[in-house]
């Protein structure tokens, strides 16, 4: 490993620790990492848009003779009237255009993708399945399971009625609907736990790899210095925290 890569990866490792320190409480290290990443990522994003959209999709096109790209460019520039108090109403035109296009796009497409497609798959034939009872109690392909999905879907939809008081029969069915919703939420939650733990494991792996590589190489001296400094800084901070804590305890007692 060269000194150069050593320094860069060490910076990354240090910032990783800074971010993890947030789990304990808000602290100067986290504040530093947070403010740094906000600035750097905003700058990064600005440049990405500049190089990947503004240049190829606007300037290049206009200069290549597709003059009509001046129109969206002008609309974009109209957004800048927001810098002025007097003319800021002009910025409503591009906003109105944006909202119009977005809403118009959504109407048929969402109707198709969400409502129609889901309705289609909600209506299942439970009879022509050759196993109505299924192979076992928890067979997901059985007719009974399919019937539960169908009834569950409809009752959960009943829960979303807004202009009807949930009373009588209506109450029963929307109650069943909310049971279904809750079981579904619990299941998704439990299912996600596994993936989230592996995110943390990945970070451990990154830190371990960095440690192994750094130790194994000529930069190991600098590596030791890094660890000493990092731990030293964190330790001093911890001592201050503990003292503060003890003092507060004494004062309350």
């Amino acid at each position: 490993m060269t000194w150069e890569t050593f320094l860069w990866t060490t910076l990354g490792a240090f910032l990783t620790l800074c971010t993890f320190s947030f789990l304990y409480k808000d602290n100067p290290f986290y504040k530093f990492a947070e403010h740094l990443v906000v600035g750097v990522s905003a700058g990064y994003f600005a440049l990405v848009l500049y190089h990947q959209i503004l240049i190829p999709n606007v300037f290049d096109k206009i200069f290549d003779g597709e003059w009509w790209y001046i129109i969206p460019a002008l609309l974009g520039i109209m957004m800048w009237t927001r810098f002025s108090r007097k003319y800021s109403w002009i910025s409503r035109w591009p906003i109105a255009l944006y909202m119009g296009i977005a809403s118009g796009m959504a109407v048929p497409r969402e109707m198709h993708a969400r409502v129609i497609e889901q309705m289609h798959s909600a209506m299942i034939n439970i009879i022509d399945m050759n196993n109505i009872m299924g192979n076992s109690f928890f067979d997901t392909a059985s007719g009974i399971a399919k019937l539960i999905v169908f009834i569950g879907t409809l009752s959960a939809l009943f829960y979303f009625f807004f202009s009807k008081e949930h009373k009588g029969f209506f109450k029963g069915i929307s109650q069943f609907g909310i049971w279904i919703l809750m079981i579904g939420f619990g299941a998704s939650f439990g299912y996600t736990v596994m993936g989230r733990i592996s995110l943390f494991v990945q970070r451990i792996q990154v830190m371990r790899d960095w440690t192994v590589v750094a130790w194994a190489d000529e930069a190991s001296g600098a590596f030791a210095v890094f660890w000493i400094i990092t731990f030293g800084v964190f330790a001093i901070w911890a001592v201050f925290e503990i003292r503060k804590y003890l003092r507060s305890k004494r004062s309350t007692a």
């Binding site: 789990l23 392909a141 736990v193 596994m194 733990i197 592996s198 943390f200 494991v201 451990i204």
Partner: protein, 293 residues
């Protein structure tokens, strides 16, 4: 304030700390965890185990780096198992980033065997794993459904040459190998809809004995195919990979990952149980008119 009140008003940073400790410790310390074996994974192993020297199988590596954590261990273990048993392997991929995956698997195993004569604790006495003799890598072609159908006719149709540019006819192990009829089984490691294509076109058209290793998310959707007998085995997610590693007696990343997952889950479940006990006890006292603070 008694113990139950303490549980109820417990600082969540203790949870963070214990979770971090559990993860780091289980990560660093390779102790043994029991892994329960499911029938669908066991049947994959049994098929592989019954292969004889000189048999041929097809391994389809249809995932990209995103699913690497879950499926890579399976590919490693199964490929290694075949090499060990002198079973010939045809590698192919239907995912455009899959070539890198196959390359990595082949390189890691062959290099290790070449240098140390061992791979992951398995000793290869006086033997090397050679391209064209122990395995062949066909490479990647787009349009998975078409490729599977064409391979059912003849491997030479979609892949006139292998990944390295050698014509298939001049590769020793491809002599007399025409299509899936000469393969004892097809194992598909898939992230995405390629798995269903293998079922529809591979199994449906050519009746190949097919087993799948898929990502955890896809697992639940694949059970119907298992029940209907379209696939003979199914390994889903990291859990499936870990079971295969265990069955093949070749522990690696999947078992490591499982160990951490398992203990982290147990810890979280313990916390949930503790929270509920605390909740019930304090509630009962509240009902009895006790002092709750």
């Amino acid at each position: 304030m008694n113990i139950f009140d303490r549980i109820m008003s417990f600082d969540r940073r203790w949870i963070f700390l214990s979770l971090a400790i559990v993860c780091v410790v289980t990560f660093m310390w390779p102790f043994h965890v029991p892994i329960t074996l499911s029938n669908e994974v066991r049947s994959i192993y049994n098929r592989f185990d019954s292969l004889k020297e000189g048999d041929m199988i097809y391994l389809s590596v249809d995932y990209d780096p995103n699913a690497l954590a879950e499926l890579h261990p399976t590919t490693y273990v199964l490929a290694e198992m075949c090499f060990r048993k002198n079973v010939k392997v045809i590698f192919g991929t239907l995912s455009n980033l899959g070539q890198g995956m196959v390359d990595q698997v082949i390189d890691d195993i062959t290099d290790s065997v070449m240098l140390d004569k061992t791979y992951n604790g398995v000793f290869y006495e006086g033997r090397e794993i050679q391209n064209g003799i122990d395995y062949v890598f066909l490479g990647y072609k787009p349009y998975p459904a078409m490729v599977i159908q064409a391979m059912g006719l003849d491997f030479r149709v979609p892949f006139p040459t292998d990944y390295y540019g050698t014509p298939l006819d001049s590769i020793p192990i491809m002599k007399g190998v025409k299509n899936f009829d000469q393969c004892k089984l097809v194992m598909d490691m898939a992230a995405g809809n390629v798995a269903e294509m293998w079922i529809t076109y591979g199994h449906g058209n050519y009746n190949v004995p097919l087993a799948l290793a898929v990502t955890g998310v896809m697992g639940a959707d694949m059970y119907p195919y298992l029940n209907s007998g379209q696939i003979f085995g199914l390994a889903a997610g990291l859990l499936g990979s870990a079971q295969i590693e265990k069955l093949c007696d070749n522990p690696g990343r999947a078992i490591d990952g499982m160990r951490i997952q398992l203990f982290a889950h147990i810890l979280i479940i313990l916390f949930i149980i503790m929270g509920n006990i605390g909740f019930f006890v304090t509630r009962r006292r509240k009902k009895m008119g006790g002092d709750v603070r």
